[in-house]
Amino acid sequence: MDESTDEEPVVQVADVHKEYELGGTVTALDGVSLELPAGSYTAVMGPSGSGKSTLLNLVGALDTPTAGDVTVDGRAIADLSETERARLRGTQVGFIFQTFNLMTRLRAVENVTLPLVFAEHGCESRRERARDLLTEVGLGDRLDHLPRELSGGQRQRVAIARALATDPRLILADEPTGNVDTETGDEIMSLLRETNERGNTILLVTHERHIATRADRIVHMTDGTIERVEEA
């Protein structure tokens, strides 16, 4: 056995179905199986409505599958209590969204400390950590700005810093470049690449091929199933 298969994957998705009841039944995921090995960098592509965000939310323990198993860090999320899933999100997962999802009333540095607040880190240590992370993403001089005082690209960098705050094993990014211009998109992708090189496992959802190709592997989805997997 070689090194890479020896370590357990960070995420295992095994024959997952997800249905929504809305009058009729909407099938968002229809038997998806996927593994995210530790330190891997995977992009998910596919047409609108194909189930990309649904998959990401399941992997991030924001939701539970209708059938099948999603295992994160060796634990099936369906077996976890609400509180345990919250804890998992807080410590093992970092989310990056298309719409940034920053707390509008909190300053940049406070947004970055948010996961550390819920993880009950001390006041001083978490401020220091947030300052370091913001400096790393190039916002060392914007610590006390409110989100509305920042550009779209800057906001997304704050969101990336926040996703990294607890140093989670897994980074989930849902169209992180969807709301920024090409140049800023490139900067964001470089940050994600650096993060991956430091050992974080990344799952990235995107519409754009040139973004997807920055990952090590591309998963193509249609109608709630994985059509094919393209290795870089």
Partner: protein
């Protein structure tokens, strides 16, 4: 999430919406202020009145002809004229008999002798009546200058301090005054000045200017008479008699006094159905206390209603706030917030609102209560109990009104919340 962090985040939101927060707590402020105003005013009046009674006349029993209730519309309550009482029917025989009842230390009858005015030679002061009583009325520290008049001596008077003030030129002990009876005048000598006299009904002190003379001879000559059934003759009769009881036997003595008056007195035979009122200081204090307690209760009820309205206000705003911040709730959940942390955050906000209501309402209520007490000329007493109760009410209101919105916030589905625009 640490409590300090919850408070910091809740404060951040509340101060971000100053006007909204201020309007939200208005109901709580009004409720708490109302309770504090009336609690502080009520307690101040109570303390003031009770201490006055306890100082002066803890062991007095008042006997008055007719039915007299506390706060009745009669001047006699404050020791002035006694026009509204029923017929003078307590005869000299009754007064003697009352004095012999076990537990009675002294008997102080009181009556009035009609006059028109009084003069010090320079100035004439209008006066309705002389107040006839006995030297026992001035026992204790009541005489501030000179001495009490002597029984059976004509021409000796004691002036109340307020009567002295009626004259522009200082009236001193030993000075002569002229009393005008309308049809004749009499020259009298001021033998003493009294701060107050026992035997005024309720003994609030004699606020009205009063000139005291001995019943013997003044009242016995000029006063009304009633038939003494026991003696079979007409006798001088009083409307009002005050008994001083042995301090620890007031209620037993009062019972014996009532039995005598109702069963075998001259007065009861003269008055028949009209009846005789017997009250001790303790009765008066109890009566005043129960009136005040009722007022405090009523107003506390109103305050609680205002708090209830305030609670609905907080609940309403918190529900709006939960909806507005659905997205924030989603963000916090994605970043590891547990349901009870979300709940705690919203509860903290509503409790802070309730506490802010108390913090503003209590001083406001104390201020208004102080002004009311000053206006009513009673000493202000801080109602410490009620400050504690009001603080607790603010906090409880915050908790109660915040529970449902906070529970709703905690149940927000993170995925729906993150989609929420």
């Amino acid at each position: 999430m640490k409590v300090s962090d919850s408070i910091r985040m809740a404060t951040r939101f509340l101060t971000g919406h100053r006007l909204r927060s201020a309007l939200t707590i208005a109901g709580i402020v009004i409720g708490i202020a109302t309770v504090i105003v009336f609690a502080s005013f009520g307690i101040s009046v109570q303390t003031d009145v009770v201490s006055e009674f306890e100082d002066t006349s803890a062991s007095e029993i008042f006997v008055v002809t007719g039915e007299v209730g506390i706060g009745g519309e009669n001047d006699g309550f404050f020791g002035g004229a006694v026009e509204n009482f029923a017929l003078p029917a307590l005869t000299t025989y009754d007064v003697q008999q009352l004095g012999e009842i076990e537990g009675v230390v002294s008997v102080i009858p009181r009556g009035s002798v009609d006059v028109t005015s009084m003069s010090d030679g320079n100035q004439t002061v209008v006066l309705d009546s002389l107040t006839a009583t006995t030297p026992a009325a001035f026992s204790g520290d009541n005489i501030v200058a000179g001495r009490a008049f002597e029984v059976g001596v004509r021409g000796e008077v004691v002036l109340s301090e307020s009567a002295v003030e009626r004259f522009e030129q200082n009236v001193t002990v030993g000075q002569n005054l002229t009393v005008d009876y309308g049809d004749r005048t009499e020259t009298v000598t001021v033998v003493g000045i009294a701060s107050q006299a026992r035997g005024g009904f309720g003994s609030f002190g004699d606020f009205a200017p009063t000139v005291y003379v001995p019943t013997d001879p003044y009242y016995q000559e000029a006063g009304p008479t009633a038939a003494s059934a026991n003696q079979g003759v007409e006798q001088t009769a009083y409307r009002q008699v005050t008994l001083v009881a042995r301090p620890n036997q007031v209620s037993d003595t009062q019972e014996r006094v009532e039995r005598y008056l109702n069963e075998s007195s001259d007065a009861t035979q003269v008055l028949g159905d009209v009846g005789i009122t017997v009250q001790s200081t303790a009765d008066l204090v109890d009566g005043i206390e129960s009136v005040l307690t009722d007022i405090v209760r009523l107003v506390t009820g109103i305050g609680v209603l205002a708090l209830l309205v305030g609670a609905f206000g907080i609940a309403n705003i918190m529900l709006v706030s939960v909806t507005e911040r659905t997205k924030e709730i989603g963000i916090m959940k994605a970043n590891g917030a547990r349901n009870r942390e979300i709940m705690g955050l919203f509860l903290t906000e509503s409790v802070l609102l309730g506490m802010a209501g108390a913090v503003v309402g209590i001083p406001l209520g104390l201020g208004v209560g102080f002004v009311a007490s000053t206006y009513a000329e009673v000493g202000f007493t801080i109602p410490y109990d009620w400050i504690l109760i009001a603080s607790a009410m603010g906090i409880v209101t915050g908790i109660v009104s915040g529970l449902y919105p906070a529970w709703r916030a905690a149940r927000v589905d993170p995925i729906d919340a993150l989609r929420y625009e």
